[in-house]
Amino acid sequence: MKKLLVALAGLLLCGASASAQKKPAPKAKAAAPAAALIAQGKTVYTETCLSCHQADGGGVDGLNPPLIKTSYVLGDKTRIVKVVLNGLQGVDIDGEEYNNAMPSYDFLTDQQIAAVLTYVRNSFGNKATSISAAEVKAIRAANKK
């Protein structure tokens, strides 16, 4: 219960700070994420994800899917966080087959996962809401069961 409260508080805080930061773009619900989070996310991306998904996020034909406007990248936060926590193999991405394996990155901290996914969701032409460390923490906890 205490944990849940902490998580909730984190969610609220993050939401508040994000919306306080800038006027939202007319259509997108997403407020621009904090520059520091994006910078940290870029570092994690370069060290951990770039070798497969490439510098431009465009992936590799038939091997590693693009991180550009896929249903995974723009969609449900739980699903994308779980991809990073558990890895992924043998699943078609938006109707396309990719024949390579993504390993688990559960050794990344909640903060690192939040940062890298916020970076991905707001780079390469993507625009989607930020993901907070608290959200990752909650998803990780549920993922273990």
Binding site: L50, S51, V60, D61, G62, G87, Q89, A101, M102, P103
Partner: protein, 428 residues
């Protein structure tokens, strides 16, 4: 004739050579190359044309003695066909394209009146008639079945020898047989169990139905993934190109930096004998030191050499360039030095990032008496479209298949845009 000559005088000099030669040798000679040589960079005297732009993922390609072209599609096209049959006209350009076979895959080979084609689990064969056309497009014989496909290194390339055997690659469904595939720091599984059913070349009979592992022989093992392979007629021996391991830095960042990861593990050409072991996953071949190195998953540290009875490569090529086709040239159209040498189609890298990507070209490796002899050289370049597109990996075309036409033309298929190229030699 006068008119033609006048017109010829008006075209740029580079073109004059090939066009006038074509005019002099018309009917018997090769078709005229495209004005821009299909966008390729070739050695002097060579030209290229685009036979067809299919828009499909054309993997391996075959040309029959009658000049009929077949291309295997990685996934069935919009009409649900997995093999294209292409009939070119006198100008070398496609007149008709039809399709058959409802399965995707890579492997395609023709020999002695049969066309062999693979899905990612099975191998089929089709009877060819006197015109080089398939007689049983909807009812092929299934000769091999039940090959492992775990959606990594899944393609099943095929080639035949001269004794009625067919050789099939079964790629390892793993990068380096780690306990957890591609996971940072995960060690190698002891006595890698993948090698029982994958990570090697299997030999079967070309004319027997429904064979599976028990009916065949594991001809060679310790091969991570082979996409390009061919039978060398001079040595009467199987040669294969292995895709070397990925991600040395991602998995063992304390042992390898990103540059070493991008440049060290060579793409190797192996000459195989029955029973050979090329050493995967226990070693990789360091193309800079020319040494067999112990894999870090199995106790290596970037300095320790491999122990174990592993064969030496016949030749080594730069890392990660993805050799997807191998072809020994036996034609007479190209100059003498190309005869019995190897052409290798490098599909192009992805695992060099953040270093610039490389490949997207066809290399020539000279051979003498069935053995590599001398340095290899880039033969056909610029499939990518520009050096920038090659460096970023955003290539327009990715060479994937090679075939020799009855006149000695070299065909190259591309599985990015689905173009089939024909390279001809026009100087005499």
């Amino acid at each position: 004739m006068k008119n033609n000559l006048l017109r010829l005088l008006l075209v740029p000099t580079a073109l004059v050579g090939s066009l006038s030669l074509y005019a002099l040798t018309s009917k018997v000679g090769p078709p005229a190359p495209d004005a821009d040589n299909a966008g390729l960079k070739l050695p002097a005297g060579f030209g290229a044309l685009k036979v067809v732009e299919t828009g499909a993922r054309t993997r391996h390609v075959v040309v029959t003695p009658q000049g009929v072209i077949y291309a295997k599609l990685n996934r069935p096209d919009k009409s649900g066909k997995g093999i294209l049959m292409i009939r070119p006209g006198a100008d070398g350009k496609t007149q008709t394209t039809t399709g058959f076979g409802s399965y995707g895959g890579t492997g395609l080979y023709a020999k002695d009146g049969y066309l062999y084609a693979s899905s990612d689990e099975e191998v089929f064969r089709y009877k060819l008639d006197a015109k080089g056309e398939v007689t049983n497009p909807e009812k092929p014989e299934k000769i091999i079945t039940g090959l492992i496909n775990r959606r990594q290194h899944e393609s099943k390339s095929v080639v035949l020898d001269n004794s009625g055997n067919i050789y099939v690659n079964v790629g390892a469904y793993s990068n380096s047989c780690q306990v957890k595939d591609r996971q940072k720091g995960s060690l190698g599984q002891p006595n890698c169990p993948i090698l029982d059913s994958a990570g090697g070349i299997w030999q079967f009979r070309a004319d027997k139905l429904n064979q599976t592992y028990g009916d065949g022989t594991r001809y060679a093992t310790g091969l991570r993934n082979v996409v390009g392979l061919d039978w060398n007629q001079q040595a009467n021996q199987l040669f294969v190109m292995q895709h070397g391991r990925d991600q040395l830095h991602d998995i063992f960042p304390e042992l390898y930096d990103t540059k070493q990861s991008a440049q060290v593990p060579a793409e190797c050409l192996y000459a195989l004998k029955k029973g050979d072991n090329a050493g995967w996953p226990y070693m990789y071949y360091d193309g800079q030191q020319h040494k067999k190195m112990m894999a870090p998953e199995y106790g290596g540290d970037g300095k320790k050499e491999a122990t174990g009875n592993f064969i030496e490569p016949a030749a080594a090529f730069p890392a990660h360039m993805a050799p997807n086709a191998l072809l020994f040239y036996t034609g007479t159209m190209f100059p003498e030095r190309y005869r019995n040498g190897a052409f290798i189609a490098f599909h192009g890298s992805w695992n060099r990032a953040p270093e610039p990507q490389a490949g997207y070209y066809v290399v020539f490796q000279p051979f003498k008496n069935g053995k590599p002899s001398g340095e290899s050289e880039v033969f056909a370049d610029n499939f990518a479209g520009s050096p920038e597109k090659a460096a970023t990996g955003r290539a327009d075309h990715k060479p994937c298949g090679l075939a020799q036409g009855p006149d000695g033309s070299l065909y190259v298929s591309d599985d990015k845009a689905g173009t089939v190229y024909r390279i001809v030699y026009a100087k005499k």
